[in-house]
């Protein structure tokens, strides 16, 4: 039999007609690709490498069946997408906003990611989220805390965690509460690095101090990763404020505490804007010099007593990384869960559909690993129901001391 052109066409038409029977009507999604942008090399590589473990833990929970009261835990993969698995593509931005921009573009155009989660440094989140906006791909700030990020009118920007104004408000609420108890807190010294994280944090603190009648006696902006902080510490020492409020990444945080010791300056109290002050590396290096230091956070392991799944998930993370969840790794973990939950409800990998699902997110606090009331985004993409906590470093671990409803111990004030 000779195969004529007509036969081929007929055959093609016949198989095309049969296709809908062979496959479900909706295109089957085998996997959901999510881009994860972090500093995997360079000065903050340690953060990125730990973040990778936090995201892998979350991906593990999404892809396998776990009996946790956490969205995406039950059942394998995305149940809304016929059990499709999540695949993470990690990209390295080296803490450089321009590299972040390029990597975001690569993830979207080459790796065809459906969403992006990032980025540790707020300065990088600025560029990454702009690229996502242009390609209409949802971006979720897992752990960026600059308040200006969600105020840029981006439609595809979301943040489940608190920002630095919320964190700083908690600090000042805490000061007010202490003052009511008769403690003397009048003067504050700010010590902050010179990128968007440090500047935004300081701006929020300056505004709050003015509103609530605290005097800022030193406002020191320093260059991140400085070889020496001697001059800066001298100014802090001369000011000798009631509370020292650093907004510093790990490297500068370690050097700050070491230099303070060398120059004979013991701060009366330290209330830190997280970052370096929630990292194990800092406490390994200088923890003995700062017993009683307070840092804001959005996570505390003592929540495990009330919510056992927190302890179990922490164990899974610890097996991969050798570390306990801290303020960063917990937010990174939660970031991916929130994004995956939206994709699951969207039943689609289309950017606009995922965005709509994110807008509709309403996740009760009990089904997260955080001390948050719930996850629900406002019209700017910010979750205002994420209550920050203050943690005190005491006897080698962190204890929640504020707000009262989350506290497990009273604050030791002044610092011992």
């Amino acid at each position: 039999m000779t195969i004529s052109r007509r036969n081929v066409l007929l055959g093609g038409a016949a198989s095309a007609a049969l296709l809908p029977l062979a496959k479900p009507a909706r295109a089957q999604v085998k996997e959901v690709v999510i881009g994860v942008i972090y500093p995997l090399s360079g000065a903050s590589a340690q953060i990125g490498v730990d973040a990778q473990k936090a995201f892998e833990t979350a991906a593990d929970i999404i892809n396998k069946d776990y009996d946790f009261a956490l969205p995406m835990a039950k059942g394998e993969g995305f149940t809304g997408l016929g059990g499709a698995k999540v695949r993470l593509v990690f990209a390295d931005h080296q803490a450089d906003p321009q590299k972040g921009r390029a990597e975001a573009e690569r993830l979207i155009t080459q790796e065809k990611v459906s969403a992006i989660v990032g980025t540790y440094q707020s300065a990088v989140a600025v560029t990454v989220s702009q690229i996502c906006e242009r390609y209409q791909i949802p971006f979720l700030s897992a752990d960026n805390s600059s308040p200006s990020l969600h105020r840029r009118g981006l439609k595809y920007y979301f943040r489940a965690a608190p920002h630095d104004e919320m964190f700083s408000t908690a600090m000042f609420d805490f000061f007010d509460a202490l003052k009511k108890k008769g403690q003397k807190i009048e003067t504050l010294a700010l010590f902050h690095e010179d990128t968007i994280f440090g500047t935004d944090s300081a701006n929020a603190q300056i505004k709050l101090a003015a509103d609530r009648g605290y005097k800022i006696v030193a406002d020191i902006k320093y260059r991140a990763n400085s070889p020496s902080l001697t001059a800066e510490v001298q100014q802090l020492k001369a000011a000798n404020a009631d509370v020292l409020m650093p907004s510093s990444y790990t490297t500068d945080g370690i050097l700050l505490i070491k230099t303070m010791g060398e120059l004979g300056y013991k701060a009366k109290n330290i209330v830190a804007q997280d970052a370096g002050f929630s990292e194990k590396a800092l406490y390994d290096a200088v923890g003995d010099k700062i017993p009683g230091v307070i840092s804001r956070g959005s996570f505390s392991l003592d929540l495990a007593a009330k919510r056992p799944m927190v302890g179990k998930i922490n164990d899974m993370f610890k097996e991969k990384s050798g570390k306990d969840f801290n303020d960063y790794s917990s937010r990174q973990f939660m970031g991916l869960i929130v994004m995956a939950d939206a994709i699951n409800r969207a039943k689609s990998t289309d950017g606009e559909k995922i965005r709509e699902a994110l807008v509709a997110t309403d996740m009760p606090g009990e089904s997260t690993i955080m001390p948050w009331a719930k996850v629900k985004f406002d019209e700017l993409g910010q979750n205002n129901n994420a209550d920050p906590v203050l943690l005190q470093y005491n006897g080698g671990k962190f204890v929640t001391i504020f707000p009262p409803q989350a506290a497990v111990a009273d604050a030791i004030w002044p610092m011992p």
Binding site: S41, G42, A43, A45, Q46, G48, V49, D194, I220, K221, Y222, R223, N225, S226, P227, S228, L229, T230, A231, E232, Q234, Q235, A238, T250, T251, I254, L255, K258, G261, E262, L263, G264, E279, A281, L282, D284, A285, V286, D288, K289
Partner: protein, 292 residues
């Protein structure tokens, strides 16, 4: 601003400056010897700091005692780097300057990557040591002991180096090879041997600096980056190839940094250093004590 804060700033600046000088002199020495700028200088420092850290971690050797060991280890490392990389980079027939830049730059990236892979990017530090965290106070001026010892080591190293360059045969061979490598070969001095020893010596000096810095600074794969820049401007300011220039350059950089931070916001303190450097370029482009 009180007199005490000014004196404190200047004292801290001087101590840091002497350390900057020690950090930079290896670079100046190698450049002076063979016109090669080692772009992996910061990574050599990183390696020296990790050596100090591991000696402390695994064998509980106090950093103060391990400084000579680290310097010796770095001597061998420097000589080997010359023999297996730089020697070949110098054989390029065209664009020799570019080949050297990329060879040492590539080495820097490689060392950083290997350090991140093998040592992990975690921030390390030596929690307790004979000198760490100690400080002495003279009339309210605080002098941290590690930096003080670092400054003394720096002065001693520069003194020894001066003696070595001027009074010993090998020092004179170094000097002669720098002046005219071809003529030196005629009198039977092996150029490669002299260069290898020069690299060894330059690296041993950064080993001294790394040993001191490991006491009071955090250690991680990228730690060299912020110090390398200081080392380059110190050498350029003091004069390329001049050992004494590195000494003077270091002190100037330390003092200018401290003074700038008193006048301008601290985030701008490196502005002073580069302003002074540009001024020097304007009047004396080869650097203050440069002879080339």
């Amino acid at each position: 601003m009180t007199a005490a804060t000014i004196i404190q700033s200047l004292a801290s600046g001087l101590l840091m400056g002497l350390l900057y000088g020690l950090l930079a002199v290896g670079l100046a020495l190698i450049f002076g010897l063979m016109d090669v700028t080692n772009f992996a200088h910061g990574e050599f420092l990183m390696l020296a700091m990790y050596l100090t850290f591991f000696l402390f971690m695994f064998w509980a050797v106090d950093p103060l005692l391990s400084i000579p060991l680290v310097a010796a280890g770095m001597f061998v490392f420097g000589a080997v780097i010359y023999l297996v990389i730089i020697r070949f980079a110098m054989r390029a027939k065209a664009n020799i300057g570019m080949v050297q830049i990329f060879a040492t730059f590539g080495l820097a990236i490689l060392m950083r990557g290997l350090a991140q892979f093998f040592f992990t990017p975690d921030y390390r530090s030596i929690p307790a040591s004979m000198l760490g965290g100690k400080t002495i106070s003279i009339f309210g001026v605080f002098l941290p002991v590690p930096q003080l010892v670092g400054a003394l080591i720096s002065i001693a190293a520069f003194g020894a180096l001066y003696f070595f360059m001027k009074k010993t045969d090998f020092g004179r061979a170094l000097e002669a090879t720098r002046e005219d490598a071809g003529a030196v070969a005629l009198v039977g001095i092996d150029k490669n041997k002299v260069f290898a020893l020069g690299w060894g010596l330059g690296s041993a000096l950064i080993g001294l600096a790394g040993g001191v810095m490991a006491i009071f600074f955090y250690i991680y794969p990228d730690v060299g980056a912020s110090f390398a820049l200081i080392a380059y401007v110190t050498v350029a300011l003091g004069g390329f190839g001049s050992v004494f220039g590195a000494f003077a350059g270091g002190i100037i950089v330390g003092l200018v940094e401290a003074t700038t931070a008193m006048i301008l916001p601290p985030s701008l303190k490196s502005v002073g250093i580069y302003a002074v450097y540009l001024l020097v370029v304007f009047v004396r482009p080869r650097g203050l004590f440069g002879s080339i």
